[in-house]
């Protein structure tokens, strides 16, 4: 049986999942979730709640949410020219793990448009929050995607325009094509 994929997560997406309280279902989707140092730092510099949430996650699932610094430093230097520190580290680590783990799929979890665009151009599989919610629904970990999307749109800085919102719901089979 194929191993579940590895994911490397960016700060925005980590915050989103924590806020809607579904991070505890990630072990059913991924083998482990790697948190790069810049994401740790961004989260640590955030509000006290976010810091506490990350601390709790690592305490609850210490073998699953893992701090990780495995990447090629020169590739990171290059990516840092165009991306913010967290996105650059996520992509550099995703590329590193992809070359190390040929038998296991690797996903970069990024919400920001620029980071996703660069990821795709580097042939890295990138999922944003919406796609991850759809995957959770496909695995019967949540019954519907829409309540979570609505919750994120109303309660957080989660940015998803109307067409992307409809595209996610269509992918989840919760919106007719017509």
């Amino acid at each position: 049986m194929a191993r579940r994929p590895i994911a490397i997560i960016d700060n925005t997406l980590l915050s989103c999942l924590g806020k809607v309280g579904i991070h505890d279902r990630l072990p059913m989707v991924f083998d482990r979730v790697l948190i790069p140092p810049a994401v740790n730092a961004e989260h640590g510099a955030g509000p006290g709640k976010a810091r506490q949430r990350l601390r709790n996650l690592k305490k609850e699932l210490p073998d699953f949410f893992v701090s990780c610094n495995d990447r090629d430093p020169f590739q990171l230097l290059v990516l840092n020219e165009k991306l913010d520190a967290g996105e650059a580290e996520v992509l550099a680590q995703a590329d590193f793990w992809r070359t190390q783990q040929a038998q296991q799929q690797v996903y970069a979890l990024i919400d920001e448009r620029k980071g996703r665009a660069f990821g795709r151009r580097l042939d890295i599989k990138v999922w944003r929050t919406g796609r991850l919610l759809v995957e959770m629904k496909n695995r019967a970990l949540i019954s519907q995607v829409q309540p979570y999307l609505d919750n994120l749109r109303s309660r957080t800085t989660f940015w998803l325009d109307d067409s992307a919102y409809r595209a996610v719901l269509r992918l989840a089979g919760e919106l007719s094509r017509f």
């Binding site: 090629d72 020169f74 590739q75 230097l77 290059v78 990516l79 020219e81 165009k82 550099a92 590329d95 590193f96 070359t99 190390q100 660069f118 151009r121 580097l122 042939d123």
Partner: protein
Amino acid sequence: MATIFLSYSVAPADGPVVSRVKSIAVVSGHTVTMPPRQHPPGSPLATIAMRQAVLASDVVLALASVGGPQHDWLNREVQTAFENQKPVVALLEAQIAPQATFPPGVPVVPFDRHTPYQAQAAIQNAVQVVGDAALPQQEGGGLGQLVGGLLLAGLAFWALSRD
């Protein structure tokens, strides 16, 4: 910006070098195509897929490090580029003799893994050379399309004026 076909033969431990080259090219605004290598080199499927990818690119960047086990792939990819008048730029580890693989005239950028910062500069230099090498292809392509378009327009005008 160019579409680069990144041909490579690197030792397993040198995977990060391929990633660096790719990242530098992407950050510089180029599109990078990796060679399709699911089928054995020389097999009909591999040859067709590789030829299509080379033809769709503006330039081929050939990367080789010592101990790279995929020279057969690299040689076929470079040969296909030559046959189809695609410019080739070689990025070779310093110990590899370029004349073994490439005919004279191919720009060769050497790199040395033992001096990582200089190796990084060499990769950046190679991407710059690749971008420059792609320009005539792109301009030529644009000119060809323009000439073709003008010819078609002329033919259409001639046909209409006959009626």
